[in-house]
């Protein structure tokens, strides 16, 4: 019989907070795309004698993330120094948390119903940005000291679909909480995975169950697609190695997108020895119960709660509820449209269908306009050629680019103009009659 293997995966997610200032100094944390080394001071440059001072908003954001992930908030929390020599940190250590993290023992439920345990949610600082140029390394310290929250799971994942779902859920959560833009491409959110595989027989027969004696760490992956590809590759590589009776060892690997494979970055022998110790320059944090309560009550309705409520309260499909609760803004748009719809006899289903299928640009359309449009449809369609001509002329005027495209032979540009007329007419134009009118107008 063929031996089966089970992957065991744990995830570490780093998210940069969108506070105004950095974690331990008053430099602006809005560093992205700025001139190098223009957002620094003695604290974030690690100059001798400079003293850190904790950003209260960052601590609150970290606790909010912890609360949303059902964590216990530590009564006492301490920062520690994580010591290592690497030029991305000017101090020779990163201020992080180790033995006394802000939030511990949480959990999150995935779409599949699987519960993922959260080991910890802790606060730390980001590092400077390195670029490698012809044999030397250049450092920009604008990012040094930007508040960073790390969320660590237990090794509860056994497939890539769950990993993807989890990462997406966290990204959605950060945006709902408005603690980060969580833009992967900009590096606001970064993923690391610890992966090992074991033969399934061991898990079922041998008791007690235990983790394999090695794990491979995949670091610094900045897209959902890459983490999925990297984990899939890694599972395959490890199973192949086990089949060949090779011994797998603790190591850090990166993802090469061009070659579509993982590659060795650091082996066990070079594993870090961080010598954590409590940061003597920062007094401990005491988080009072009342503070936790007030932060908890400040949380918005969380995405998974909203999804559930949409499905139950409005009787729409889970799939539609998921789309409508994708962002807080869209969810608010939907509910505001429902409110208006109710007054004008437009049903929940009509509103939900419209938004799900037509995907209106909610930054330019008002919820009331949608209801107008849906209402208008019931009242009647514009069939008068004169009126349609007027609308078509207006749309042509407003969409000069589409007209040019059409004249260059791009027939699809006609759709843009039809869309323009629909917008002007609040969806009431008769498309069958409109089309020849538009075509005639464009040829003239």
């Amino acid at each position: 019989m063929k031996q089966m293997y089970e992957p065991i995966i744990g995830l570490e997610v780093h998210v940069e907070l969108n506070t105004k200032s950095k974690m331990f100094c008053r430099c602006s944390a809005d560093y992205f795309g700025k001139e190098p080394n223009t957002y620094t001071c003695p604290v974030c440059l690690g100059l001798p004698g400079a003293l850190p001072l904790i950003n209260k908003a960052a601590i609150e954001d970290c606790i909010k993330i912890g609360l949303a992930l059902n964590c216990k908030i530590s009564e006492k929390s301490l920062f520690e120094r994580k010591n290592y020599f690497y030029p991305d940190l000017p101090k020779g250590y990163q201020i992080s948390q180790y033995r006394w993290p802000l939030c511990i023992n949480g959990q999150i439920t995935l779409d599949s119903g699987q519960v993922i345990r959260i080991n910890r949610v802790h606060q730390e600082e980001d590092t400077g940005k390195l670029s490698h140029l012809g044999g030397v390394t250049l450092i920009d310290f604008n990012r040094s000291g930007v508040p960073l929250v790390e969320i660590v799971t237990e090794p509860d994942f056994h497939d890539v679909a769950s990993v993807r779902d989890y990462a997406k859920k966290l990204q959605q959560l950060f945006r709902y909480l408005e603690v980060s833009n969580a833009d992967m491409e900009r590096g606001d959110m970064r993923l690391e995975a610890n992966i090992s595989v074991h033969p399934i027989a061991i898990a079922s027969k041998a008791s007690p169950w235990r983790l394999p004696d090695y794990r491979v760490e995949l670091k610094n992956i900045n897209s959902f697609r890459f983490i999925v590809a990297a984990i899939e590759y890694e599972i395959k590589r490890q199973i192949e190695a086990l089949e060949k009776r090779e011994k797998l060892t603790q190591e850090t690997r990166g993802w090469n997108e061009d070659k579509k494979c993982t590659f060795l970055q650091r082996s066990k022998e070079e594993a870090h020895d961080y010598r954590y110790f409590p940061e003597p320059d920062l007094p401990e944090l005491r988080i009072e119960e009342s503070r936790v309560k007030s932060l908890e009550s400040s949380l918005p309705e969380l995405p998974w709660d909203k999804l559930k409520r949409f499905a139950e309260e409005y009787g729409i499909s889970k799939n539609d509820a998921q789309i409508l609760s994708e962002t807080k803004e869209l969810a608010e748009f939907f509910e505001s449209a429902l409110e208006h719809g109710k007054k004008h006899g437009v049903s929940i289903k009509e509103v939900a269908n419209y938004i799900v299928n037509r995907k209106p640009d909610i930054s330019s359309v008002l919820p009331t306009q949608i209801i107008e449009e849906l209402k208008g449809k019931k009242v009647g369609i514009i069939e008068s050629e004169k009126e349609l001509e007027k609308l078509a002329e207006q749309a042509v005027k407003e969409n000069a680019n589409a007209v040019l495209d059409y004249k260059k032979g791009k027939e699809a540009a006609l759709q843009v103009l039809i869309g323009g007329v629909m917008k002007l007419s609040l969806g009431k134009a008769d498309i069958a009659k409109l089309k020849p009118i538009l075509e005639k107008l464009l040829k003239s």
Binding site: K20, L45, L138, K219, P283, E284
Partner: protein, 96 residues
């Protein structure tokens, strides 16, 4: 407590200090003596004492999330032994 030469090498590596063979030997003796000296503290009964990490007795010292102007780029780079393209330059390291 005797520190082995390998332990001294390890500590030196972590501290990013290049040591000669002669220094490794000398420091292993000196560091062992220092450890012995500090070891005396273990004679004190501390099982009921809370560890002290901070002597100020303060807690929750925080600031509001406000920005103040940073150093100018010129000031920030003024102590850099080497710079290039307005960045600090250091010997090449691999990204990891």
């Amino acid at each position: 407590m005797k520190l082995t030469k390998d332990q001294v090498k390890h500590v030196a590596k972590l501290a990013n200090l290049p040591l000669t063979a002669e220094e490794e030997k000398r420091y292993s003796e000196q560091l062992s003596k220092i450890l012995d000296y500090v070891e005396q503290l273990n004679r004190v009964e501390t099982s009921s004492a809370e560890p002290t990490f901070n002597v100020t007795g303060q807690s929750n010292v925080m600031r509001e999330d406000e920005t103040t102007p940073s150093l100018s780029q010129e000031e920030a780079l003024s102590n850099a032994p080497q710079k290039k393209e307005c960045m600090f330059e250091t010997k090449g390291v691999f990204e990891d």
